[in-house]
């Protein structure tokens, strides 16, 4: 699983010593020297405390805890609440909080120095790619978090408090290393009052989709918009979602497993051709290719476009600018036609907001304990209350104030039941992201057609499959 072996006789500490020596002595090619200067990283002995029923993970009660939170769509207020909970349990511990949007640049030197934070929310456009961290053995195996007793009921393991898909999403190979804390659901979003006023219906099939788009266009509104500058890949939920619903979970498993011809499966081609048809009929707002996602979403909430494809963070992200009577509502992606393997109500649920405990953290036990507290009833409710979003833990939104979006999502999830799916290829192989944005924009602007689009993605799949230096995963 890990193709990168340490150089014979050169361990991390020596490497750091050499870096340090090079820094102070400035000899070119210093890495070849056997250096004698002091090391940069030092040894890391994780803080250890007494295991007890109230402290099942053996947290050193006075060890400081360093938490770095991605300060994105959900802000970081919820993390402050979680940190307060930690302080309550371990009053002697100092908790250091930082919020950041530039995770990779700020954290990379700390990882190399062997001084990473104890809890890291590795999310956003500037995140450190998960595959990079996993392949470098930088993450703590969170298996013992899953087997630890939950905070609220010592007889129930944490594992059993999680929503479906959370463990799968965070597992690389055979290790659970990432806790994706937010239960994100991907859907077709629209303003309910706008649709009611015009007598439009959210489509359940692609024929209905084409029909309603035609009506919307006739009314002088663009049916869809998208953030072509940086986020056109949101739209892939339309074609890939439809393809997976039609053909079943095997369709997405073939993609994730880098199967030859995965992107040429019948349903994938059929669904992508319908998307291409929408482009040809002008159902995407002209000029969308020049918009960033927030700009496109702004145009959408202002009624210039009727639909937007996005994850469930959208309401929170647009909080300041959405008109009060907009009533943001989620609909599942329509199915291609009759005989689909999954019902119309099926949803892509993809837990996100990746919380990790770096393997070299000073307070690994404290970091894992922090995650356990996040997954408590109180932790989940705090998150739901502060962000109007669904955390990865069961029952957390029961008492939360229901915004229109949260309400429609809860109803949608209930209707979907066990018919949820997710894809892993983007998490496992980071090079897909760049390609998907570039090629989806090309498709949505008519610079390429469905066949050309899928050919590019298949070529990338074949390239990854053939590249020995890339670690492979399987589901």
């Amino acid at each position: 699983m890990n193709p990168s072996r340490p150089m014979p006789g050169l361990d991390r500490r020596q490497f750091l010593q050499r870096l340090a020596a090079a820094g102070l002595l400035a000899v070119p090619g210093a890495g070849l020297l056997s250096a004698c200067a002091t090391g940069g990283g030092g040894t890391t002995t994780a803080a250890q405390g007494q295991v007890s029923t109230t402290n099942p993970l053996g947290v050193a009660t006075d060890a400081p805890l360093d938490v770095v939170i991605f300060k994105g769509g959900y802000g970081d207020d919820y993390a402050l609440a979680h940190e307060a909970m930690y302080k309550e349990h371990y009053p002697q511990a100092q908790v250091k909080h930082s919020g950041s949007t530039q995770i990779a640049q700020e954290m990379q030197p700390r990882f190399v120095a062997g001084n990473p934070p104890d809890v890291l929310d590795d999310t956003g456009a500037q995140k450190i790619e998960y595959a990079v961290l996993v392949n470098d053995n930088q993450l703590t195996d969170l298996g013992r978090l899953l087997d630890a007793p939950s905070v609220d009921d010592p007889n129930v393991k944490v594992r059993d408090t999680l929503l479906p898909g959370v463990i799968e999403q965070g597992t690389f190979g055979d290790k659970f290393v990432i806790l994706n804390y937010v239960y994100e659901t991907y859907a077709l979003w629209y303003s309910k009052p706008l649709f009611e006023k015009n007598g439009w219906q959210a489509p359940t099939t692609w024929d209905e989709m084409m029909a309603v788009c035609e009506k919307i266009k006739a009314a002088g509104i663009a049916p869809f918009t998208y953030g072509g500058v940086n986020a056109s890949d949101y739209v892939i939920d339309l074609n890939l979602g439809a393809a997976i619903k039609q053909g079943g979970l095997d369709v997405v498993k073939n993609m994730d497993n880098l199967q030859p011809g995965a992107w040429k499966q019948d349903t994938v081609l059929a669904a992508t051709q319908r998307l291409e048809e929408m482009v040809r009929k002008g159902y995407f707002m002209p000029g969308s290719e020049g918009l960033k996602h927030t700009e496109a979403q702004t145009a959408w909430v202002q009624g210039k476009a009727a639909f937007y494809v996005s994850g469930s963070w959208i309401e929170n992200e647009m909080k300041g600018i959405t008109p009060p009577d907009f009533a943001m509502t989620a609909a599942p992606i329509p199915v291609l036609g009759s005989g689909s393997a999954m019902p119309v109500a099926a949803l892509r649920t993809q837990p996100a907001e990746a919380f990790v405990v770096p393997a070299k953290a000073k307070n690994v036990n404290g970091g894992v304990e922090y995650l356990r507290l996040m997954l408590s009833k109180q932790g989940g409710e705090k998150f739901a209350e502060l962000t109007a979003s669904v955390p990865a833990v069961k029952g957390a939104t029961a008492n939360a104030k229901k915004t229109p979006a949260l309400e429609s999502l809860s109803a949608g999830l209930a209707a979907a039941g066990s018919n949820v799916f997710s894809w892993q290829f983007r998490t496992w192989y980071s090079s897909y992201s760049t390609l998907l944005i570039t090629e989806t924009t090309n498709l949505l602007t008519g610079r390429t057609d469905a066949a050309g689009y899928l050919a590019k993605l298949q070529a990338e799949t074949d390239r990854i499959a053939a590249d020995q230096s890339i670690a492979k995963y399987h589901r």
Partner: protein
């Protein structure tokens, strides 16, 4: 005396050299070493692989695409910037009022001199945000003005069109740079002794001819230095792109990817710091070659006055 001279030289060079070596040379030396490893950037694990990264680089089409864009940027941005700056400087400094070439600029020159420098004080991050919005196809200023003045058919999704994204970025770079070089060239022109111009005017030379045969040669050194400085600025035009077009792929259909952006993506998104370092070393070599080439090609006999 001789001994004193060397002691003096050593004492003047010691502190700056130590600073430079510790903070600049040594990190780059390490970066050069890293370019010969397969380091992923997050741990101490790395293998020495010699020149393999450089061999891979030679056949990396995205690298060459980015290099091509860099070449375009380096050709167009400094040339246009210098041309604009020279023109503006000439007309506000030495074009003179009618019949008085060489003495003072056209009417309103003082005003222009204040205004033109403005973009220089705008931080790159701000310029990026400002122009990202300026080019917004829907609510941006550019398309808005075009529609108001009846040129709506010219409105475009500027940053979303592969043919227009790079030129749009270039326009912003030029917008930001002209002011400084304008001031630089005006100052240089002001230092040309006025009798040189008077002689030219007596010989019956018009404005254009005065500019070509007198003004330009007189300030040639400034132009030369400007080209190098602009070239370096353009190669480092990463911050602007990062704010204006925050796309991993480098603009629509990869049409704006530049080397520094590709380097960044390779390092932070791809986790290939060894390879990224090789890209950086290659970029450095190209820049050095450029600087040398410009110095060689533009070397002229210094005009004595």
């Amino acid at each position: 005396m001789r001994h004193g001279k060397y002691r003096f030289i050593a004492s003047f060079l010691a502190i700056p050299l130590v600073l430079y070596v510790v903070f600049v040379v040594s990190p780059y030396a390490q970066a050069f070493y890293i370019s010969m490893t397969d380091w992923r950037g997050f741990s101490g694990q790395q293998n020495f692989i010699g020149l393999r990264n450089y061999v891979d680089l030679a056949s990396d089409s995205r690298f060459w695409q980015a290099m091509g864009h860099n070449g375009l940027l380096i050709l167009v941005v400094p040339l246009v910037t210098i041309a604009f700056a020279l023109f503006l400087a000439a007309v506000t400094t030495v074009a003179g009022r009618q019949g008085a070439v060489g003495r003072g600029g056209v009417r309103g020159s003082r005003f222009y001199q204040v205004i033109f420098f403005f973009p220089q004080v705008v931080p790159v991050v701000i310029a990026g945000v400002l122009f990202g919005f300026f080019f917004n196809p829907d609510a941006g200023l550019l398309n808005g003005v075009l529609r108001v003045v009846g040129l709506g058919w010219l409105a475009r999704p500027w940053l979303g069109d592969p043919a227009l994204a790079l030129p749009s970025v270039m326009a912003v770079l030029i917008w930001g740079a002209v002011g400084f070089y304008y001031v630089l060239f005006s100052s240089a022109m002001k230092s040309v002794p006025p009798d040189v111009f008077e002689a030219a005017v007596l010989d019956g030379a018009g404005r254009l001819r005065t500019f070509w045969s007198i003004t330009l040669p007189m300030i040639w050194d400034s132009v030369q230095v400007s080209y190098i400085y602009l070239g370096i600025m353009v190669l480092d035009g990463f911050a602007l792109l990062q704010v204006m077009l925050p796309v991993p792929g480098g603009g629509p259909d990869g049409s704006t990817v530049v080397v520094s952006q590709y380097l960044y993506e390779t390092a932070f998104t791809g986790g290939r710091f060894g390879y990224a370092s090789a890209i950086g070393v290659a970029l450095c070599l190209v820049t050095l070659l450029l600087a040398v080439a410009v110095m060689r090609l533009t070397r002229r006999q210094q005009t004595e006055y």
